[in-house]
Symmetry: C2
């Protein structure tokens, strides 16, 4: 190096290499414990640590001591309100899952109690959910006919609930909560909307009073089933259904207009049930084609440990149903819990929630409950009713207990069509077309994912919709890595800043220097593409310069600011780009390689090949250095042209 | 805005939104035509376009006119050299695939001719490959026993070759060549090594002269099979095998020492075959436990269109085998072709290669050939022998044709053990432990992928190894996006540059300002993680400041330079981070959002929420602005503290 060498003000640092165990520990911690749950255990005596651990796993121990009577008053009101929703919804959704109605009531008793102890959300109201109910009936119904073999079907439903709980709890314990993150917001919007549409379609059976109905859930099968049975439509049933649906929708409309009237909406389902039952009782409509619930057993949840069918030939179907419904339940529940937590400015812990959901379903499956989660509608009512803590779930459970012990005979005359109306009213709220329009405005691809999920669910099946949406979401991530953007950078006038010419049309080209930015980690999946793309940039630039007769190209600067990582394929790609550049008499310069990248470039001796002096801290410094070289050699440009293979031009 | 407002020198540009069709076109072009193959068609008359298109699809038309006699001389020598390798290798690999030996010879006749016309590589020598042969025998062998039902087995092998060809050609035509990129370099090293180990293990059957042998390929089964049959080992066979193996390895050692002696290595297999055959013929060893090839039919490839078993019940197995072997063949062939092209400084087109491979396999399957690709060993010999173009493949095919027409009876006494020795010698070269060590040095994760592929192949099966390796590679990409790094930035002394404190320990904190950098696109898969991670950074920083008694935190700057993309979940995450910051009385500031990100932030009204004046072109400018605000308010810090929710502090 002569004294003509440009003195670079800063050097790119190669961070000291950490020992393998240390860096493994760091990355494991970031992967599984990003929220650093052990923070509070630091520097505490052992006894305190034990109490903290207990409070960590059973949050009620943490907040119960601070619980006040004022809170209790609010929680009682909220609890009774959601109980009035829970009873008819429980019966309806059990009906949707093709399970005995009483199972729906059982499911609103034990799981809320378990959640109240273990859950970290103050607003979540526990209960059965429509989508999971639909999934159970469609997935298990394929294996066992619920009408022909109700006992086995019930056993499978309980077994799948057990596995859903085990799966949820293990996700939480193994800190794999991020699995749920792979259901993107767009997927959930589309999926929920599709499921709600399907559930509404299924309710046409109840509304029209049909006895036979298809077991398929797709639009085409349902429509065919309905229109081939037109002569069996029961107008009494239809009229009753439409009246109640109208009533439910009108009450919701009023509640939405004025949130102080939320209780109108909350009470409407129970009111419908009471009115419907009275009507049937008085008019004996059950003898004129209006189906009713019929006898409901009095008494609390019977134990059902012995019903879990681990030896059944359908065990695999039960496990599969459990895993899918478990994930869906978690995704909805955690998202709902999180939304309300943000509203009230507190934090919920995803992994802790998963353990709570898992435990409540395991406990539920042993006490005749089927899958429960945190339904949005019930949670919203709970929130509007002013709940202060999970105690509202305990109040709800108590109310349901009283119902189970004393009030079940009252539901004998409840018409099924009212239940259908309740389900439809709840489902129409889940078809969130405004969210879909918002997705379209902000991100076309997200909207596509959402529509794919919707169409998949409505025209295919719930599973198909889910698989399509998740695959599309993952493909997008892979495509981002497989086809990263590359940008041409230019100088922002009056600064040392270089930015994409696409984004900043005022940015100026630097003569003789091509500045490229790569926008993603350089991995095997994109190494070939990037090599071709970079050589195309060089080709196009040389072409342009040739046609305009400007000075020829001497330097190619690659801005690595956005390259977060590189693998061995990526390093080979850089080596090939360098060979390619050398062959054309161009000098390859790197700007701002990040710590992980520079470490690997160092390990693979690429830095030696390119020369440490050709790696700069910023694009600005790289350009300055290139310009310096260019002008020093202007007297004798051949010095550059003739020694294209030489690493050290000076 | 008062006159106390800091005047920002540059503004972040929101690029004009392109019409949907236009941006769709751009992204489709980048995804499928990154090499811009239509470039040369621009501004050409129609007739010229037609000629160019023909030359594009049939490259021989492009280079044949420039072909010289000097080239031809070189190609003849190279072609004869690789033919001497092709004949024994063809027979050996057909043996490995449990196919009649003659099929191996047929496969070195038609496919090279097809490739010579369509391929774009000048060095690739076409032929059967060991790994694909092994895959065929292990995958089809599961369905049909090649000894009990050789006709059906052969039909299935031809059918799978047909589908492999169709799959390869369609990948090329649909410009989906990047599918092959998902087999990373590390995967291929591990997979090839594992497959070579497995193939060597299989050859112990031939070396030890065993008649019965396991159909499994894993180490445990093979070892059990060998050691339970110790009494059936044939020493004659073993001795012969070891001698030839030693001969082959020693010749390779010499060739490696001096590349001018490459022909020793190239000729060694044919020499072994001749020596072995003579030995058996003279000593009548075939009657003493040394198995020989036996009768080989004279004549060229018979047509086999009618053998393609499209109606077979095993069609699905054939298709699956075809797709997997097709991908493996492509991955190896394209990688080999590319390596030698880089060596000789010319370019090969991945998609064109795929079409060539596909056409040669489709043609092959109709003329009694099984799957062919570009084996590394044969290509290396071709290259060393000084080939100049694909004409060497034509010469090889001609030599094989002569063999088929006149010389097949000479192979009657060729002992199988010599073929085993040839295969083992070739395979030992594929176990690239040096590459594995290099991977370990440069990238631990890549090394893990490589080892997983190796172990999976050796202890499980070829498919298991492949699935494990591909899954791990994809998981890595997903994990990169799911758990992006976040860095704390500091000021590099005497500059406006801000870099990670981890990488540059000299970088200084800015009092009152927390500067974070996010290192990946913000997608649904990492939105939750990033929200938690950012709030942990803030928490930790506040904790640190509290314990040291320094000034409290007022600004959080997020450097978005490395955030290439964002989706709706990501935008919600930013909104939540902003709410969170507001609640703590902190101001959120963004630096350098990229064009795609700023467009979406604009569409979703996030810019309005955060305030356009809080988005800066560089971290440096953002810090300057923050410092300006801090000092203007120093007289009355309560102005900041008391109005945490206010967007416009000034």
């Amino acid at each position: 190096m002569g004294n003509m060498e440009y003195e670079c003000p800063h050097r790119v640092a190669i961070p000291p290499s950490k020992p393998l165990a240390k860096s493994l520990e760091t990355s494991l911690k970031e992967t599984f414990f990003p929220d650093d749950p052990f923070r509070q255990f630091k520097n505490q005596p052992l006894s305190r640590k034990f109490v903290l651990a207990l409070q960590y796993f059973v949050p009620i121990l943490e907040w119960a001591p601070r619980y006040t009577f004022d809170f209790f008053k609010s929680d009682v009101i909220a609890g009774i309100t959601i109980a009035s929703l829970a009873v008819p919804q429980g019966i309806s959704y059990a009906n949707l899952a093709n399970l005995p109605p009483i199972i729906g009531l059982y499911s609103s008793f034990v799981p809320p109690l378990v959640y109240a102890m273990l859950g970290s959300s103050k607003d979540l109201a526990v209960g059965t959910v429509a989508v999971a109910s639909l999934l159970i009936s469609s997935m298990l119904g394929k294996e066992v006919n619920p009408n022909q073999n109700p006992t086995l079907y019930l056993q499978l439903a309980l077994t799948s609930t057990f596995f859903a709980g085990v799966f949820q709890a293990s996700l939480g314990l193994l800190r794999l909560g991020f699995v749920v993150d792979f259901l993107s917001h767009a997927t959930i919007v589309g999926f929920m909307g599709g499921a709600a549409t399907v559930v509404c379609l299924q309710q046409l059976k109840g509304i029209l009073g049909l006895v036979h109905f298809t077991h398929e859930t797709d639009l085409v099968s349902v429509m065919r089933s309905i229109f081939t049975q037109m002569h069996q439509w029961r107008w009494e049933s239809g009229v009753l259904g439409c009246c109640f649906l109208f009533f439910l929708l009108i009450t919701r409309y009023f509640s939405k207009k004025k949130t102080a009237f939320f209780w109108i909406n909350a009470m409407a389902p129970l009111t419908s049930v009471i009115l419907g039952s009275l009507l049937v009782f008085l008019t004996h409509a059950e003898k004129h084609g209006v189906q009713v619930i019929g006898h409901l057993k009095k008494g609390l949840n019977p134990l059902s440990v012995s019903e879990l069918a681990f030896g059944s030939p359908f065990l695999m179907a039960a496990i599969k149903t459990g895993i899918i419904t478990g994930v869906i339940g978690l995704a909805e529940g955690v998202a709902v819990g999180r939304s309300f937590a943000i509203f009230k400015n507190y934090h919920i812990d995803g992994n802790k929630e998963m353990i709570a959901f898992g435990m409540m379903n395991i406990a539920g499956s042993c006490t005749s409950c089927y899958l429960t989660a945190g339904p949005f509608s019930r949670t919203a009512v709970n929130f509007n009713a002013g709940c202060k803590s999970a105690v509202s779930n305990i109040v709800m459970a108590t109310a349901v207990m009283i119902t189970l012990l004393f009030l079940t005979p009252l539901f004998h005359y409840t018409p099924l069509v009212v239940l259908s109306a309740i389900i439809i009213a709840a489902m129409l709220g889940l078809i969130d077309y405004e969210a879909a329009i918002h997705l379209w405005k902000v991100d076309k691809f997200d909207c596509m994912v959402c529509m794919a999920a919707y169409v998949g669910v409505v025209f295919g099946s719930v599973e198909i919709g889910l698989i399509i949406a998740v695959t599309l979401s993952l493909l997008r991530v892979l495509l981002f890595v497989a086809r990263p953007r590359t940008f041409l950078l230019g100088n922002i006038p009056n600064s040392m800043v270089y930015r994409s010419i696409d984004q900043y049309p005022i940015a100026n080209n630097v003569p003789g220097v091509l500045i490229l930015q790569i926008d993603a980690p350089i991995y095997f999946a994109n190494a070939n593409y990037l090599r071709e793309r970079v050589s195309r940039w060089i080709y196009e630039e040389e072409d342009k310069l040739k046609s305009t007769g400007e000075a020829s190209l001497h330097y190619v600067i690659i801005d690595m600011s956005a390259v977060g990582s590189i693998d061995t394929s990526g390093i080979s790609m850089l080596e090939e780009v360098k060979k390619n550049a050398d062959r054309k008499g161009l000098k390859l310069v790197l700007a701002n390689p990040r710590s992980e990248v520079i470490k690997k470039l160092d390990n693979s001796k690429f830095i030696e090949k390119i020369g440490q002096e050709w790696i700069y801290l910023t694009v600005g410094e790289a350009v300055t250095a290139c310009n310096f070289m260019l002008h020093t050699h202007k007297q004798n440009p051949a010095a550059i042209e003739l020694q294209p293979q030489d690493n050290n031009i000076v």
